[in-house]
Amino acid sequence: MSSIISVANLSKTYGSGFKALKNVNLDIKRGEIFALLGPNGAGKTTLISIICGIANPSEGQVIVGGENIQTSYRKARSLIGLVPQELHTDAFETVWATVSFSRGLFGKPKNPAHIEKVLKDLSLWDKKDNKIITLSGGMKRRVMIAKALSHEPQVLFLDEPTAGVDVELRKGMWEVVRTLQQSGVTIILTTHYIEEAEEMADRIGVINKGEIVLVEDKATLMQKLGKKRLTLHLQGKLDVLPDSLAHYKLDLCDSGATLVYDYDTKGDRTGITSLLSDLRNAGIRFNDLDTTQSSLEDIFVDLVRTS
């Protein structure tokens, strides 16, 4: 799959001397949903702002759809739609007027049919004549998405699209994003909700302290870094583990009532068979067992800690 965005050696140092981005290199593939994860202040918004033309880079270059964002900014920006993190809206404008304004701003001729489609897709059609100030937070968020889609962009940036949005609306938003991807739009989203990235992204990038820590396919990332945990609920409590089990790195939990064994999913041998055999030989019996896989959130926390 070809790249639609290519970020090379990008750095940003603010006037205060704070380095928000440090030599960032990143490629976004055409048609994918890319989730950019990172703690507060990691540089996510700065990176998006530079790609979209809101902030100037200190060093490096960004190519969007083959166009340099600085030397060929008109072509590059016309490919991009941006939904910023904050709810910035023209409070006294109607939904229709503000979305039409966005289309004009991006140099596109009037196309009421397209605006109508966007508003209908986002369940805003019946609110088209309402002033934005009268809308709920979730609706305002959708208006901002409508504005970003008004000029038919090839790339859509969603900076924390579901921040402060209730669960039902969030799931509705995910549907919208999936539909957009099916129509060929490349989507880059930043989020604090790991479940959002886990649910939607094809690839995941992690940024911390202005540096890209990792970029990986979601499935590969889960496989590479995901750990599984086997929990055995014992018939009787144990005070200490027998020496024959010492090499398994087991944790005795719940005052000796459960045994916990972490194993690597990428390894050919998980050690479970021999563990169960050694437990039987040691006379340790259990009533029940369960296995759990570490979530993307666990992986993310680990990555941020180690970086």
Binding site: G15, I80, H88, G104
Partner: protein, 253 residues
């Protein structure tokens, strides 16, 4: 050239004028009418002619300039400051539009409003005093140049301001006093020689003088100097705006 973007910004700003009609048009017209009542009728009736025209007629160009100057600054500064304040500036900055086109949209709308206002005040003045315009083309030229120049100046203030207080500061503390002292209500030739020299340092003197000349051929300074000074101020404003966009001052940092 992204004409559609310029049009979008221009129409968006003009729509704001119609939405806030009372504040944008009616309020300046009412206050100007009050000036006519106070200075033209009440005080003016006790003042003899100034350089061959009645006092009420004499102050008309100055009063129009007073409104055009202050409204140009107010319109343009608020026009660009409000998206900064509300955060909607992100859309302007991320759109495929050049700095020149952004300025054209905002300043064009601000200047249009001021010109409309100036013409409305001119028509209002006609209800109070007899008017004659000897050089209508030059009158319009001065009006347009002044509206554009001070809209550019307002645009700079709107970018510079990081609070509503700063937005008001320059117009209130600098522009209004300069306008009042710039010969809106008198000819600077009426001042003692020392103050006359000081008055010539006030750039507004040149605008009002040139504008008044286009009405009655009465001028404190030569009309060519007036037009030269206005153009010089326009170029200075353009240079500052060019620098703002080149560096991203208070927009991209």
């Amino acid at each position: 050239m992204n004409y559609r973007a310029i049009r979008a910004i221009y129409l968006f700003e003009m729509a704001r004028t119609w939405r806030t009609l009372l504040q944008s048009i009616v309020s300046p017209v009412v206050s100007t009418s009050l000036y006519f009542v106070v200075f033209g009728a009440a005080i003016g009736s006790r003042i003899s002619e100034v350089e061959g025209v009645s006092y009420g007629t004499f102050i008309v160009p100055g009063l129009i300039m007073l409104s055009v100057l202050t409204q140009s600054i107010a319109n343009a500064s608020f026009g660009i400051y409000f998206p900064k304040f509300a955060g909607t500036i992100y859309e302007i900055l991320s759109a495929p539009i050049s700095y020149f086109e952004i300025v054209l949209g905002y300043v064009g709308a601000a200047a249009t409003k001021s010109i409309i206002l100036g013409l409305i005040i001119l028509a209002t003045a006609g209800l109070f005093v007899p008017l004659h315009i000897l050089h209508p083309v030059w009158m319009l030229t001065f009006l347009v140049l002044t509206a554009v120049t001070f809209s550019l100046f307002g645009f700079i203030i709107g970018i510079w301001a990081d609070g509503f207080e700063k937005l008001q500061m320059i117009p209130m503390l600098v522009v209004t006093p300069l306008t009042f002292l710039g010969g809106s209500f008198y000819s600077i030739n009426m001042l003692p020689p020392a103050w006359h020299t000081v008055a010539l340092l006030n750039p507004v003197v040149y605008l009002i003088s040139g504008f008044r000349w286009s009405f009655y051929e009465i001028a404190d300074v030569s009309p060519s100097i007036s037009i030269g000074m206005t153009l010089a101020f326009l170029l200075i404003c353009l240079a500052i705006i060019w620098w703002i966009f080149r560096t991203g001052y208070r927009l991209k940092n």
